[in-house]
């Protein structure tokens, strides 16, 4: 498991952890029922507060990505990756629709839009 914390980012630290763990679960880097580090150990390793890692794990558990067994630890939950992907794709579509609407408003063409997307996607 890889987690990198940025202290300068506007994104709260707990959210950085949530997103990075989610990403690794979706990409299969973290496998189903794999044991995650304890919240206290993760806090120590990342040099952040216990409350922050606790909040990240709580969030991940609420969203169904991990399961916590009292006294044993937290595991990557068994989840339907297809379904997760589908919901994400739907989200992308919604946001794109919004972007296209704005584009049409100010007369940005499809070609320009595609170029834009390409540049942003490739970073």
């Amino acid at each position: 498991m890889n987690i990198m914390i940025s202290n300068t980012s506007d994104e709260p630290i707990y959210l950085q952890i949530v997103n990075q763990i989610k990403e690794q679960i979706v990409q299969g880097e973290l496998e189903e029922s794999q044991l995650l580090p304890s919240i206290r150990n993760l806090a120590k390793e990342l040099k952040i507060s216990v409350i922050t890692t606790k909040r990240a794990y709580d969030e991940l558990e609420n969203e169904g990505f991990i399961v916590t067994v009292a006294g044993k630890g937290s595991y990557v939950a068994a989840m339907n990756k297809e379904m997760f992907r589908e919901t994400k794709v739907k989200m992308i579509e919604e946001k794109m629709t919004e972007a296209i609407a704005t584009a049409k408003l100010v007369g940005v063409t499809l070609e320009e839009l595609q170029d834009m997307l390409k540049i942003i996607y490739e970073g």
């Binding site: 202290n7 709260p12 707990y14 206290r40 806090a43 120590k44 040099k47 507060s49 216990v50 922050t52």
Partner: protein, 292 residues
């Protein structure tokens, strides 16, 4: 959640300073940073917790026990580190340890030996010849060697170099691997706490200004900067430590949401550090400090 430390309505009056009925609660398993400028009441609070001075009113409960009635039982389970050396300077490290250790029923010599090795404590050197950092490490080693459950630290990092400070913070974090241990850490160097503190309590002029999780604090609060003309017509009660100069204003706000609602995009909003929060809360209004 079980509170390992519970202070309620605690007061102590001196001629020129008083602690005005403060409340503090710390859950088991966490570290609380107790911040405030010099003279704000941090040491007075800690002295009251340690029974070094007598309170005028209020209660202090540690491990659920009243600290007046269970003085010794509580102290068995406390590890303390103070800002200044109060050990007998004339004794060697080993002699001092031998004097202290018999008083702790749960003293663990093997643990002490391990820390002495890790910290490279010079056992046969007189305490007066130790560096400031080494004195703190000795104090820490004593605090860690009797299976204490609550660690009370009064400005442990003041006057120490960054390397020793980060070593201390590392030790504290590894202590918290045990969820039954808690740390109460007072400091005016807030950067020590930016990373590892779970809770932050800010004290100023003997009053608790705020006490909440560090994450909440840093997410809810914000720094606002903008041009002065924006100030007219806005309610200033949201702006803490408001300061104006010829080119604009800056202030701290306890609600980022509220600021966005009020000012929208017309101001610059920044994430505060703990130091910002402390400085904006405690600085003296419009008065400026300059050199003459």
């Amino acid at each position: 959640m079980e509170n390992i430390l519970e202070i309620s309505n605690l007061s102590k009056n001196y001629k020129d300073f008083s602690l005005k009925g403060i409340d503090i609660a710390l859950e088991k398993g966490y570290i609380m940073g107790f911040i405030g400028p010099n003279g704000s009441g941090k040491s007075t609070t800690i002295k009251l917790m340690m029974n070094l001075i007598k309170k005028d009113s209020g209660t202090i409960k540690i491990f659920g026990l009243d600290n007046d009635q269970n003085n010794l039982a509580i102290k068995e389970r406390i590890g303390f580190v103070y800002d200044e050396n109060h050990f007998y300077e004339e004794l060697t490290v080993k002699e001092m340890k031998d004097v202290i250790s018999p008083f702790y029923r749960r003293w663990d010599e093997s643990v002490f030996k391990q820390y002495a090795k890790d910290f490279e404590l010079p056992l046969n050197k007189e305490i007066k010849n130790l560096s400031k950092g080494m004195k703190m490490k000795f104090s820490l080693a004593i605090a860690l060697s009797h299976h204490a459950e609550l660690f009370i630290m009064d400005e442990p990092t003041s006057g120490l170099d960054p390397l020793v400070r980060s070593e201390l913070l590392e030790v504290l974090q590894s202590l918290l691997q045990d969820e039954n241990k808690s740390i109460f850490f007072s400091t005016h160097i807030t950067s020590d706490l930016d990373k590892i503190a779970d809770f932050i309590t800010l004290i100023h002029n003997g009053e608790i200004i705020l006490s909440k999780t560090k994450d909440e604090l840093l997410e809810e609060y914000c720094l606002v900067k903008g041009s002065k003309k924006l100030l007219s017509g806005h309610r200033p009660e949201n702006l803490i430590g408001l300061k104006q100069n010829d080119y604009g204003f800056e202030a701290l706000s306890s609600s980022k949401k509220e600021i966005i609602k009020q000012f929208g995009d017309s101001v610059m909003i920044e994430k505060p550090t703990l130091e910002d929060i402390m400085v904006f809360y405690t600085r003296r209004g419009e008065r400026r400090v300059s050199s003459y």
